[in-house]
């Protein structure tokens, strides 16, 4: 039945995946004017970094910890040249390669930490908002306390504890960032859950005997989850910055494990006095570009999802003509 239905089903009623994909794309399609441009520029920048991250082994000219090629050692703090377009740093590494490998590290850490905080935050938020009572109060207080804490300091404390135990790798860095973002998802999801709980459709579901888990999964969750993409992209932007900050303070990913932009900037600090500009500029620009790209995507989505900021194309008013047909 299912196989037979696909030929007709696609034209008559799109399959579930197509429909949910379309719903996901709606905010992008509906954008207008400046918001649309900013959104597209942001998407372009973000995609460029994703490509660099995924294909780093093929795109980057050298490895992230490679000091020589074909038996010829790289120069120390070599100025940008044909062989090293972004120069080399104080450890003889090629800066361009490290920037490319760095985007891979950034992407891995951010995806891992966002997935973890989304999972924990959304589940806690749904449960807390739907069940209410003392559990809700305690969770709310805890999340408020975490949120009030300066996020970098929180990440520093966790990195301080985790780097020693898990080694200074991707996992330790991602987990240090996870804690920062849980409260935000928790709040968004909890508040929308509370308003959804009182909605008529949930009451209707309850009256026909749906149990709590079914209501949460099938009725509350799909309505709540719409606000997550905006928070998610903005958090991804923030996470890139925080990861780099940890690296800059020497608490992030250790250099032997992966290439990380913040760590490269920490090393560049000692190059500044001698006027060596390329070791700081290129990894720094990479951070700025990627964070800007993600922020533009988040802001663009927000302007279309958030009704108080939304601007829609005005439909031309069509007055019925004398013969009853609509005329311009």
């Amino acid at each position: 039945m299912a196989v037979e239905g696909t030929a007709n089903g696609l034209t008559a009623a799109p399959s579930r995946t197509v429909r949910s994909l379309r719903r996901l794309a709606t905010p992008v399609v509906r954008t207008q004017g400046v918001a649309r441009w900013l959104l597209f520029i942001g998407l372009f920048i973000t995609l460029a970094f994703v490509v660099a991250a995924v294909f780093a082994p093929w795109l980057a000219p050298y490895g992230f910890a490679q000091k020589s090629a074909g038996g010829v050692p790289f120069p120390k703090r070599g100025t940008p040249s044909g062989a090293h377009p972004f120069g080399t740093n104080d450890q003889f590494y090629d800066v361009l390669s490290r920037v490319m490998w760095g985007s891979r590290t950034a992407l891995q850490v951010v995806l891992l930490s966002l997935a973890a905080s989304l999972l924990i935050g959304v589940i806690l938020g749904l449960v807390s908002g739907y069940l209410g009572g003392w559990l809700d109060r305690i969770l709310l207080l805890l999340m408020d306390a975490l949120y009030a804490f300066p996020s970098l300091l929180l990440a520093i404390v966790f990195a301080f504890l985790l780097v020693e135990r898990l080694g200074g790798g991707i996992l330790a860095a991602a987990l240090s960032l996870t804690v920062i973002y849980i409260p935000q998802y928790f709040r968004v999801v909890r508040n929308t859950t509370i308003s959804a709980r009182e909605a008529t459709y949930v009451e209707a579901a309850r009256s026909i005997g749906a149990n709590r888990v079914t209501i949460m999964r099938k009725y509350v969750f799909p309505n709540v989850v719409q606000s997550v993409p905006v928070v998610g992209t903005l958090n991804a932007a923030d996470a890139i910055g925080t990861l780099a900050a940890l690296g800059f303070l020497g608490l992030g990913i250790q250099p032997q494990n992966a290439s990380e932009w913040g760590y490269d900037l920490k090393r560049a600090l000692s190059d500044v006095a001698s006027g060596v500009w390329w070791t700081a500029t290129f990894p720094g620009l990479a951070i700025v570009l990627l964070v800007t790209g993600l922020t533009l995507v988040g802001e663009g989505l927000n302007e279309t999802v958030n009704p108080t900021l939304r601007r829609r194309k005005l439909l031309p008013v069509q007055l019925p003509g004398p013969d009853g047909e609509p005329s311009q």
Binding site: F149, P150, F248, W277, I287, V291, T295
Partner: protein, 342 residues
């Protein structure tokens, strides 16, 4: 009596009472994270430098040999008395660390706040007023980029350009050694001490050192301010009272400042309180970039030394400062906007 004047003290009292569980929770969190998790902080910090007997003595002095619950209660008790303990690596009271380095952090954060207000607020008003025009797009992109750029990268660029290449300002530090030698510490805020001593060369020296770090940290906040002011202006500019003011023929300047901006200020002040956390995080990074002798750099130093007691003390202090400032901001808000009190 339910007059407006009667409800304000009640609101303040309520707000303060609500703060207590928050502070308690933060203290517990810091304690659990830093005291319970690691094996033995004393040997982690100075294990390679001291004899076993001296190590045991240090442990006893810090109360690490007592039961955990007792340690927890003692920690809470000492924080109430504003005693944040002693560092392990160099064995000095945290309060002394705060006294010696807090002034530098205060100077940096306040001047950065000033830079951000002076630059960010007018730009936000402009962007909101001329929505979707060319200036709006430029200002918004500037706001996004200045927030997106990590403070340490902006700091590095500023050092490269204004200190190394142009030589206008010193690269790092808070003053020359001569100033440090000449100015006697009285308030422990170097800039104030120099002013009090009437030493104009020292004042000039400190101010020159201050420019790059303050502007660097200020730019970070500036991006946030532009965004906040712009969004709030967009909302107030839609208000009926703005339309009414325009209909009465008031000049546009007055409509903007007295009607739209004044009402946009209330949500702005609320969110300003939340920016203290960002300001502190930024200060930690700015101080590390410019070798600024503040609490943030000290924290990073102690982390490097694996000094749990010092890290715990400084983090506790930061947490308390953030909560206290958020309470103050809420009270100021209640003064500005009577609706909040009810």
């Amino acid at each position: 009596m339910r007059g407006a004047s009667g409800s304000l003290p009640r609101y303040i009292l309520q707000r303060l009472l609500l703060t207590l569980p928050m502070v308690w929770l933060l203290l517990t969190l810091v304690f659990l994270l830093l005291r319970v998790a690691p094996g033995d902080p004393v040997s982690a910090a100075v294990g390679d430098r001291l004899a076993p007997a001296a190590l045991a003595e240090r442990r006893a002095a810090l109360g690490l040999d007592r039961p955990l619950l007792q340690q927890y209660l003692e920690y809470l008790g000492s924080v109430v008395r504003f005693d944040f303990g002693k560092t392990i690596s160099d064995n000095i009271p945290i309060t002394q660390v705060v006294r010696d380095n807090g002034g530098a952090t205060l100077t940096l954060t306040l001047s950065a706040l000033l830079v951000a207000l002076v630059v960010g607020v007018p730009l936000g008003v402009l962007a909101g007023r001329f929505r979707d025009s060319v200036p709006d797009v430029i200002i918004r992109v500037f706001g996004i980029v200045s927030y997106a750029a990590p403070v340490f990268f902006v700091g590095l660029l500023a050092q490269l350009l204004f200190a190394v290449k142009l030589g206008w300002f010193p690269t790092s530090g808070m003053s020359t050694p001569i100033t440090q030698f000449e100015v006697q510490p009285r308030t422990h805020v170097l800039l104030l001490d120099a002013i009090l001593a009437g030493n104009t060369t020292a004042v000039r020296d400190v101010l020159l050192h201050l420019v790059l770090p303050a502007v660097t940290l200020g730019l970070l906040l500036c991006g946030v301010f532009i965004r906040l002011v712009r969004v709030n202006m967009l909302q107030t500019l839609r208000g009926d009272y703005v339309e009414a003011a325009r209909a009465r023929g008031l000049p546009e300047r007055r409509v903007l400042v007295a009607y739209a901006f004044r009402n946009a200020l209330v949500p702005f002040v609320t969110i300003l309180g939340l920016q203290v956390a960002l300001l502190l995080s930024g200060a930690v990074l700015t101080e590390s970039t410019f070798n600024w002798p503040g609490l943030g750099r000290k924290l990073v130093d102690y982390i490097g030394a694996r000094d749990y007691a010092a890290v715990q003390g400084i983090i506790t202090l930061f947490a308390v400062v953030v909560v206290v400032i958020s309470v103050v901001v809420d009270i100021v808000n209640a003064l500005i906007d009577p609706r909040i009190r009810y």
